[in-house]
């Protein structure tokens, strides 16, 4: 259960939430721009349907409004950690394929990667505020226990990249909504509820 909610903790959470909302909003705008550039430069079809790519966290969620604050934060954190790894891999592949030929896309990818890392850290801060244990990255990898992904063809890499950026754009919107939920004052106390209770 989260520590009883002192006013200072509530204020701190609200501050972290509103900063997180701005960060996620900016990240989303940059991801959407990156997505447009990526589609164009990789010669992809913007309206192409991309099946769910293994290892890419799906933003889609059912009964979103019933999630507790802790669920929201833990799911967000797991997602952005996964995106951090996926974007790093994309960046690596990008350099291998194009070298410096396409530095612009590489820079944009690196900028988004930086924002994703910053946002993941921000989520950890929120969890720490609730003296909530932060799942270690190793724990997650063990939980996944997934073998390293098979080597993809160039086209498969491009499609996966499209899937990654699309999901990340959706996650950024979801994160804004999640953080708004967390920042909402609870009807009773007027302060933001402890994470475990907040719908």
């Amino acid at each position: 259960m989260a520590a009883a909610d002192s006013p200072s903790a509530a204020l701190r959470r609200r501050d972290l939430c509103s900063r997180g909302i701005r960060l996620a909003g900016k990240m989303r705008a940059d991801v959407v721009d990156l997505l447009d550039a990526y589609v164009e430069q990789q010669g992809l079809d913007a309206s192409a349907s991309v099946a769910a790519v293994e290892g890419v966290p799906q933003a889609a969620v059912e009964r979103w409004d019933e999630q507790t604050g802790t669920q929201r934060l833990l799911e967000n954190l797991a997602a952005y950690r996964a995106f951090r790894a996926l974007l790093a891999q994309m960046l690596e592949e990008q350099r291998e394929q194009l070298g410096e030929a396409d530095a612009g896309l590489g820079r944009a990818l690196a900028a988004v990667l930086l924002q994703v890392s910053a946002f993941a850290y921000h989520l950890e801060e929120l969890l720490r505020l609730e003296s909530r244990g932060i799942p270690g990255e190793e724990e997650e990898e063990e939980e996944d226990g997934l073998p390293p992904p098979p080597r993809l063809s160039l086209f498969e890499q491009k499609l996966r990249g499209l899937g990654v950026l699309r999901e990340l754009a959706q996650w950024a919107v979801r994160s804004v909504r999640d953080l708004r939920q967390l920042a909402k004052p609870s009807p009773a106390t007027g302060t933001a509820p402890g994470l475990a209770e907040s719908p």
Binding site: A60, R177, Q181
Partner: protein
Amino acid sequence: DSHIQYERVGADVTMKCGSMDWDAAVTWTANGTDIDESHLNGSYLILKNVDLSQSGQYSCYEGSSWHLKYQTSLRVGTPPKEPVLMCRSNNYPKGFYCSWHLPTPTYIPNSFNISVIHGTKDMVCEKDAVPKNRCHIRYLQLFSTVKYKVTLTVTNPLGKNFTTLTFDEFAIVKPDPPESVVAKPVPNNPRRLEVSWQNPSSWPDPDSFPLKFFLRYRPLILDQWQHVELSDGTSHTITDAYAGKEYIIQVAAKDNDIGTWSDWSVAVHATPWTEEPKHLTTEAQITETTSASTSSFMAPPTTKICDKGAVVGS
């Protein structure tokens, strides 16, 4: 036997008199009126290049016994054209609705069937009692990258057609216009107008899904709108209004993060505050007022002392 017969506009129609032979003596009526023999070929009724006005009740009687041998209700119409389909979420994140209409009438009854697929999942589109050409779908999932595919099929006895829409969850989010827009002058402020409004009542959770607003205003004497975007709150004070000019004001809304702008709200009118004109009453008061005001009147800086009309303050 009696039944309904559907025929396309422009078709040639032949009606037999039930089981009567071709050469039997018969009488045909249309809505109770005898049909001229020129339309008969033996006992068959021939209608060339039918039009809408020829819809009606056609009856065939045996010779002179007036025994009804055949009756049909002829309905002249057209097969359906590709229906116009529109889907929109004005109550995000609850769900979205789809509504449709035919670009041209068919003059005969049509039936509509809609299918909504999200990825591989079939979704239920709950039909509204009114309006009939509309149904609602509840979002089972939010923040999905999987597209929705909506197919509307329209069928009538003369043909069939369909339309398909494919869209993302976010793309169809469009709130209803803001409501209860009010504009008021601000006392003692000849250049201000206070505008307030409310979130559209159809928007279910403005706290979690806040709306931002777009305000446009102009004096009636001008065509050019002025715009201001407001990311929170449901009121704004216009501070650059032309004094004494009547203004027209409208507001639009959009989800803070996704979708498109609503239509403009209903227009409201307001005129900034103006000073009450001083009333001239009896002669004495006028004289008194004039002498009082002359002593305080200062010639405007732009007026030259030697100007003919200049009034010099004492």
